[in-house]
C-alpha cells in the first residue's frame, strides 16, 4: 500500500488541469480578472510547444514541400510528412495514405459530400444525419442533395439531447448512400454510440462518416476500432493552429473517389490531352498545403500523446461532473443537454436572461463562454430556444474555473433581478 502512495501523488501532480502554464493565453487578465477560458469547443488554446513549433519552422526550415532538392525544401517536406505520421498514429489509421490534410472538419465533410457522394447520388437515394449535427455536417449534405435530387433524412433527438437510436436504425435501408453523424455534439455534449451505429450501417453496406471535431480533443479515438469509413476533425479544437484539419478515409474508399480540387501536387502528369492524378493522399491535397499548420498539428498530437488521451478523458469527465452538479445548484438554472453519455460541454439557460447578455456579464468577470446557436440551429429549434450559454472544457480546465463560472452566474442574476 505505502509503496503505491507516491505513485498516486505523482498521478495527481500530472493532472492535465495542472498544466495551465503550458498555455500562454490562459495567463492573462481580462477586464481586471484572471481569464477563465470555457470556450474550447469553439476553439482551444495552443500550448507553447505548438506555438514554438510553428515559429521555429518559419524561422529555420520553411520552403515549399514535395518538389525541392534543396535542404530547406527537404526539411519542410520531412516535417510536413512527419506530421502526417503523427496524426496517423494518433487516430490509429492503417496507413499514411489515409490521412488527408484539409482546412478543417468542414472542408473534410465537403470533400466527402462532393467527391464520394455527388458522382453516384441520384433521385431516390438518401443521406441520413441526426438532429444534433453542427451546420458543417448538415449544409454539405443539403447542397449535394439539391445537386443530385437525393433526399436528406434526419434522425430526431429526445429531451435529454440523445438521438433516438431505433428511429435512426429504422431509416437505414438500401436507399441510404451514407450515414453522417457526430461523435460528440458540440451544442449538447452528447456522445453518440458511433461504434454500434457503424456496425449496424455496415451490415447494410452503408458507409459512415463521423464528425469527430468534438471527440478528438477529449478522448482516445481509434478509427480502426470504430471501423468508420471517414472521420473528420479540426486542428484548432485540439490545441493545434487554425487552418488545418484532417479527413481520415479508408484507403479503398479514398482510392475509389475522383479528386475534388485540382492543381499542383495532386497530379502525376498534366498535359492538355489529359491529366494523371497522384497517389493517395496527395490526390486530395491540391495546391501548396498549410505546411506550418500541419507541423503545428503534429506538435499538438505529440503534446497530447505526452499526457495520454485516457488521462485527459478521465480528468475532463471529473470536471464535467463537478460543473454539472455546481450549475444545478444555481437558482433559475436550466441545463440543455443532459444525455447519459456526455463529454466536455454544458449548455444552459439562466432565468430568462438572454444568453448574449449572460456572455457579456460573464466576460466582464473574466469568464469566457460562448452564447448563441453554436452553429447548431436545428438543436435550438428542437428545444424551442434561440440559443444557449455554453461552457466547454478542455484538458487545462480545473475546479477553480467552475467555481468562477458559478460565481459570475450568480452575479449576473443580481443585475437582472
Amino acid at each position: 500500500m505505502s509503496e503505491q502512495e507516491p505513485r498516486i501523488a505523482e498521478l495527481h501532480a500530472a493532472q492535465p488541469g495542472d498544466r495551465r502554464a503550458d498555455f500562454p493565453a490562459l495567463d492573462q487578465q481580462i477586464n481586471g480578472h484572471s481569464l477563465v477560458y470555457l470556450d474550447s469547443a469553439a476553439s482551444s488554446q495552443a500550448p507553447t510547444a505548438v506555438i514554438d513549433a510553428v515559429a521555429s519552422y518559419q524561422q529555420n526550415d520553411h520552403a515549399n514541400v514535395h518538389r525541392g532538392v534543396h535542404t530547406l525544401s527537404h526539411r519542410a517536406t520531412e516535417a510536413y510528412e512527419g506530421a502526417r505520421d503523427l496524426v496517423k498514429s494518433f487516430v490509429n489509421a492503417s496507413t499514411r495514405s489515409e490521412v488527408v490534410f484539409t482546412r478543417g472538419t468542414t472542408e473534410a465533410i465537403n470533400l466527402v459530400a462532393q467527391s464520394f457522394c455527388r458522382p453516384v447520388l441520384k433521385p431516390g437515394d438518401r443521406i441520413v444525419i441526426t438532429h444534433l449535427e453542427h451546420h458543417s455536417n448538415i449544409v454539405p449534405w443539403q447542397q449535394v442533395c439539391e445537386q443530385t435530387g437525393a433526399e436528406l433524412l434526419v434522425a430526431s433527438i429526445d429531451e435529454k439531447g440523445q438521438i433516438n437510436i431505433a428511429e435512426l436504425i429504422g431509416m437505414l435501408d438500401e436507399r441510404v448512400r451514407i450515414l453522417a453523424i457526430a461523435h460528440v455534439s458540440n451544442a449538447l455534449g452528447s456522445i453518440l454510440p458511433v461504434r454500434e451505429l457503424v456496425e449496424k450501417a455496415h451490415s447494410l453496406d452503408i458507409p459512415v462518416l463521423i464528425d469527430g471535431a468534438q471527440a478528438v480533443p477529449h478522448m482516445p479515438v481509434d478509427v480502426l476500432d470504430l471501423d468508420c469509413d471517414f472521420y473528420a476533425f479540426s486542428g484548432h479544437k485540439m490545441f493545434g493552429p487554425t487552418g488545418i484539419g484532417v479527413l481520415y478515409g479508408k484507403e479503398a474508399r479514398l482510392e475509389s473517389m475522383p479528386p475534388w480540387q485540382g492543381g499542383g501536387d495532386m497530379i502525376l502528369e498534366v498535359s492538355f490531352d489529359g491529366t494523371t492524378y497522384n497517389e493517395l493522399p496527395y490526390k486530395f491535397e491540391a495546391g501548396t498545403p498549410n505546411i506550418s499548420g500541419a507541423i503545428g498539428l503534429g506538435a499538438a498530437v505529440r503534446y497530447l500523446q505526452g499526457i495520454g488521451m485516457d488521462v485527459i478523458a478521465r480528468h475532463e469527465q471529473e470536471i464535467l461532473d463537478y460543473m454539472t452538479s455546481e450549475l444545478n445548484k444555481v437558482d433559475g438554472m436550466r441545463l440543455i443537454g443532459t444525455a447519459d453519455e456526455k463529454a466536455s460541454v454544458q449548455s444552459f439557460l439562466l432565468d430568462d436572461i438572454h444568453p448574449h447578455d449572460l456572455g457579456t456579464i460573464l466576460d466582464h468577470q473574466g469568464v469566457a463562454i460562448r452564447t448563441g446557436h453554436h452553429c447548431a440551429m436545428p438543436v435550438m429549434n428542437r428545444f424551442g430556444i434561440p440559443g444557449t450559454a455554453r461552457a466547454s472544457l478542455a484538458l487545462y480546465n480545473n475546479r477553480d474555473d467552475i467555481d468562477r463560472l458559478v460565481e459570475s452566474l450568480n452575479a449576473a442574476r443580481k443585475i437582472f433581478s
Binding site: N31, I353, H354, H356, T360, T371, H373, P386
Partner: protein
C-alpha cells in the same frame, strides 16, 4: 492589444434601468394588423431575429410601428425604444434619425447637436464593441423597411 477594459460602472452603463425596463416590458411588441412596410433583421453573430412593422400614411408619416422577435436585452430594448421614437416621424426624418443613432453607436465620436432623447441610453454599448450589433439590429431593419428592401437586413 485590447482597449482599456470596461469597468463595473460601464457594465451598469450598458444595463441601465431604462434598458432593462424596455427589455422586460417591450413597447409596441407584436405584429401590426396591416403594415404598409416591414423588414426582418438578422444578427448572424448570434442568430437573433427581429421584424419591424410600419404603418405609413400617404404623406409619408409613420402612423404606427411595432416589432416582433426575440433577442438579448440590448436588441429588444433598442427595438422597443425605436418604435416609440419613430411613431409620428415622417419617413425622411426616420431615415435621418436612423443615421444619427447608428452614428452615435458606432462612430468614433459622440454625435453632436442631435437630440437622441431616450435613445441616448443605448450609448453604454459603445464600451462593449461586441454588442454594438445588438443595438443596431432593429435600426437596420427599420431602414430596410422604409426602403422597401426585400432582403433580410443584417448587421454586417
Amino acid at each position: 492589444m485590447a482597449a482599456a477594459a470596461p469597468s463595473q460602472e460601464e457594465l451598469r452603463g450598458l444595463y441601465r434601468e431604462l434598458i432593462l425596463d424596455h427589455a422586460r416590458n417591450p413597447r409596441n411588441f407584436g405584429k401590426l394588423a396591416e403594415p404598409s412596410h416591414l423588414a426582418e433583421g438578422i444578427n448572424p453573430l448570434c442568430g437573433d431575429k427581429l421584424k419591424v412593422y410600419l404603418q405609413l400614411k400617404e404623406d409619408g408619416q409613420i402612423a404606427d410601428a411595432s416589432f416582433e422577435g426575440s433577442g438579448c436585452a440590448i436588441s429588444v430594448a433598442s427595438a422597443s425604444l425605436l418604435t416609440e421614437a419613430v411613431i409620428g416621424m415622417t419617413k425622411d426624418d426616420a431615415v435621418g434619425f436612423f443615421s444619427a443613432v447608428i452614428n452615435s453607436l458606432t462612430g468614433t465620436e459622440g454625435v453632436k447637436n442631435f437630440d437622441l432623447g431616450k435613445l441616448a441610453a443605448l450609448q453604454g454599448v459603445r464600451e462593449f464593441p461586441a454588442r454594438v450589433k445588438c443595438a443596431t439590429l432593429a435600426w437596420h431593419a427599420l431602414n430596410a423597411a422604409i426602403h422597401d428592401d426585400q432582403q433580410t437586413a443584417t448587421t454586417e
